[in-house]
Symmetry: C2
Subunit: 571 residues, 2 copies
């Protein structure tokens, strides 16, 4: 359980502050994360990694000569926002293109994807390769749909070495796809972890059992098994992973493997060493040769107890990259030429103040700001329940994410009101703030939707109820398109679509009445999500959903739409 906390919402920021101070020789802070302190050659492809915090050394611990050039640092277990990713990439790019790598989770895919699109429009050459090493999360045929766990380390280490060798962005991207294709992990969890500020664990594992393939945020695994000896565990991990060993003698693979035995946090070194001594015997028995084993904590989940085994099936190039020198806060190997004499100069991202809108629009903007404050209050009241709901099938961060997003949006709205901004600007900024503050999938969708609603308004005049309804319907429908989910996937879309349909079909009813009906439709639909059967286990939605619990995203959406209805009714 996390014990050293000031304000839980500030935990990732506070922690990153300490990290950048301790390792100032390696990293310097930028908006959204860190980049190397030392300058890199201009011709060097930049490797930018990232994801939620709470997994140290992943990802910021790998920034330094020989591995990554920058790391985007999200909130605990929540993907960073697109604006964070943009900022880190701008500071890390050496003019030769940037490869972004992260574990394959919905929020990361969404935010990093948005950032890449925006930066490409600015002329950057941005590539993305998702890491998909966890064999528990999908079938061998769907290797590229799996989620990323401790395999993040060998994959990123290898790609960083390829970048350091001076290869082009095309070549580095090819290495990244290749090494991800040759890397397999399987993990077990012995106990859950507790988020900063929370008094209950995110999930639990029954005493005397372990969760086979349980995700690093508590996502469902393959099975709950009875805890046996270390020998049993070694046998299980090795045999499952070797089911996916590529044929020896083909494509340069002849049985040489990189090995990572990774502790999740509370499973300590002595246990990892013991397990490795068993794993190495089994690998040798299978005719494999171990190349530089790493037995350590490289991808943790706060104080979760558990362990994973990762194998990378090497060819000549991959072996050279795996063994190449590296010098980062959390992993050092060999001797790296120190270019630290030249400091990399980075400029802080600044935000312009909002400009004033027409008085009529500014008046409407004030009312919107009041509604956003009400939304913040609702999410704070519901935080605990939403988190619990989310921990059944997701990573338990939904409650906190909604609080962070709505708080940032309300704060942004207050600033816009103070600047006399119009309603369009206020909502565009509030949307960006929500996305930035919350991170995660839901943060991206809420932020995008708010901005889209703003697009339907105007800074030059007040708009009427019909225009408001059209704007809200447009923003709400955009969620379906942005997230790629459809009704029945057990996501917030199950509630947003009925809401938008009801609002659109309200004809010329007054806004308050129309909204009340639409909110009721959303509430009914959200409650219905509890009875949906488990859908296909898609890695991008954190594995299969469980039956019997409503989708927290649909529930929170319906709650906030009810809050808006209440606000409109009191006017």
């Amino acid at each position: 359980m996390t014990k050293i906390v000031n304000d839980p919402e500030e935990f990732p920021k506070d922690s990153l502050e300490g990290f950048t101070e301790i390792y100032s020789e390696y990293v310097q802070p930028v908006h959204g994360g860190v980049v190397r302190t030392a300058a890199s050659p201009e011709s060097e492809v930049a490797l930018v990694v990232g994801g939620g915090s709470g997994h140290y050394p992943a990802f910021a611990g790998w920034v330094g000569p020989g591995i990554a050039h920058g790391s985007v640092c999200g909130n605990i277990f929540a993907s960073p926002s697109a604006s964070q990713a943009r900022s880190v990439i701008r500071a890390a790019d050496n003019g030769a293109g940037t490869l972004m790598m992260f574990g394959n989770y919905a929020g990361d895919v969404l935010h990093f994807g948005q950032a890449a699109e925006q930066l490409r429009a600015e002329g950057y050459d941005i590539r993305i390769v998702e890491i998909t090493d966890d064999i528990a999360s999908d079938s061998p045929q769907n290797h590229l749909q799996r989620r990323g766990i401790a395999g993040d380390f060998p994959v990123v280490k290898v790609v960083g070495a390829a970048a350091a060798e001076g290869h082009s962005i095309d070549e580095v991207e090819a290495v990244a796809r290749h090494v991800n294709d040759k890397t397999r992990s399987l993990g077990v969890a012995f106990s859950g972890c507790t988020l900063p500020g929370s008094t209950e664990p995110l999930f639990t594992v029954e005493e005397g059992t372990f969760g086979l393939g349980l995700g690093i945020h508590g996502e469902p695994g393959i099975a709950t098994e009875k805890l046996g000896t270390a020998d049993d565990l070694a046998e299980l991990l090795v045999s499952k992973i070797l089911e996916e060993e590529p044929p020896r003698g083909e494509d340069g693979y002849d049985g040489r493997v990189a090995v990572l035995v990774n502790g999740l946090g509370a499973t300590k070194y002595e246990e990892l060493f013991l397990l490795y001594s068993r794993i190495s015997k089994l690998l040798r028995k299978a005719g494999l040769e171990i190349i530089r084993p790493v037995v350590d904590e490289q991808v943790t989940s706060l104080d979760m107890a558990g362990v994973s085994l990762t194998l990378t099936f090497l060819d000549e190039d991959l072996e050279r990259y795996w063994l190449a020198a590296a010098d980062t806060p959390a992993f050092r190997s060999g001797s790296v030429e120190n270019s630290g004499a030249t400091r990399r100069e980075v400029t802080a991202e600044t935000e312009e103040a909002a400009s004033a809108g027409a008085p009529e629009s500014a008046e409407q903007a004030k009312k919107i700001a009041v509604i956003l404050e009400a939304l913040e209050k609702t999410t704070r009241d519901a935080e605990h329940d939403l988190g619990k709901m989310d921990s059944v099938a997701g990573d338990g961060d939904h409650g906190q994410g909604m609080v962070l997003g709505s708080t940032a949006a309300a704060e942004s709205a207050r600033q816009s009101v103070a600047a006399g901004a119009g309603s369009k600007t206020l909502l565009a900024r509030a949307g960006a703030a929500w996305s930035e503050g919350a991170g995660g999938t839901a943060g991206a969708l809420w932020g995008g939707a708010l901005a889209r609603v703003g697009n339907g308004l105007s800074d030059g005049e007040a708009v009427d109820d019909a225009a408001i309804i059209a704007a809200v319907v447009g923003g709400t429908k955009a969620i379906e398109e942005m997230g790629g989910a459809v009704v029945g996937d057990k996501t917030m879309v199950d509630a947003t679509v009925p809401f938008a349909d009801a609002l659109e079909g309200a004809g010329d009813k007054p806004l308050a009445e129309a909204w009340d009906e639409a909110a009721t439709a959303a509430e009914n639909a959200a409650a219905d999500t509890a009875s949906f059967a488990a859908k296909k286990g898609r890695a991008r939605t954190h594995g299969g959903k469980s039956v019997g619990t409503p989708d927290p995203g649909a529930i929170s959406f319906s709650m906030l739409m009810r809050t808006v209805a209440d606000q409109l009714a009191t006017k």
Copy 2:
């Protein structure tokens, strides 16, 4: 809780096997621990560290160029035996003398001290400096009586650098005393740890509180306090340690400090970074300059949750040693000249088989072997209860230590019987095996006592009851002398003295009857230890003793004397 285990008794050995395999470039196994793989210069003073296992990286993780030359590796939380220490020192010594360093605990002091005496008799120049950084364990005036915790790391790091600079054994010893004198730690515990194979934690910390100064094996601390914010914790640790800051401007100290923020196992990196960001602000506010902070896990206690702060008040020499290059499994810094091309050759220690004694003595030896097997059975039955009793005031390893010791002694006795050995040889070997198998203070005392009893017997003839009684009285009285404790200290001596007195005073009663009376005296005395008041808090006896629980060493002694009485009665 430790989850990855085969046979709990083999846990430290199994774990060390994995460690030496993973880090074979750094360390090679020898009897009792590890030494560097690479050869060292002949003129280099050897630094041998050690202690119980369960604290990785302490101590084996620090073996390599720039720090230690060897590490003695005991059982979990139990000091290694003297024979283990001898073996590692013989393999590590470069001909220029060896400095042994370890945290100041009774078992370590006893075993390493015995090893040093024996090796000095062989012509080795052996020095010992105990590490005493934990300000919670004794007053500032008694700094050298305090126990050693995370300060082990900066102290050992500094001394290793002095040895690597090529200083003489006198100079290196002086550096060791100096840096220990300038190093202060204070730790807090949030939750206990669980020994391998155990289902209950060694100790617990009440939810919402922390143990201030609680030892790394659960030894009593200063107080139980309510858990506040990270700011509160930083303030507490910094202010308490700075109470012992030496005057600035004297002895070369001008406010420059080495800083270690150490996690005990389940308190993870993000929390340590956050705490450091607060600590560094407070240190700067106090006018101090931080020299290369280390914020990491360097001295753990299995999966215990907790953290400690260590400051070393630097002068010019200490700062140079602190910053010097090092290359070990758990700590790397700068660039070390690799002498790995030359492998250090070590020879395995071998034990001669026992030679046969006279048939009459061998007959008596067989009976002793049967008694030793009965002792093993008794300790196995009592293991859990003894461990629980020990966890109140000690480190909870007494039950396991007694099982390991008696098992090794019984096995050794079986081998002696098979070789036809006489009773003197059988007991001498059984004593050495007990000490070796158990480690810890109790192991040293039991082993020494058995050997001493053997000294009173003969391999050439059977001895009569009077001679047996004299030998047993002599062996039992030796415990007082070896351990340095007296009656009333709440140690096993509280039971051994009444036992020896009763046996000695039995006149010419038959052996079985005399032993029965002496065993009863031991039982009464052991029970009485529960009512002793807390004695002075001596670091060497793991801090102050608590009232109300009998001393586990006295209890186990009386139990085993009862077992012997039962055996004698059935004959």
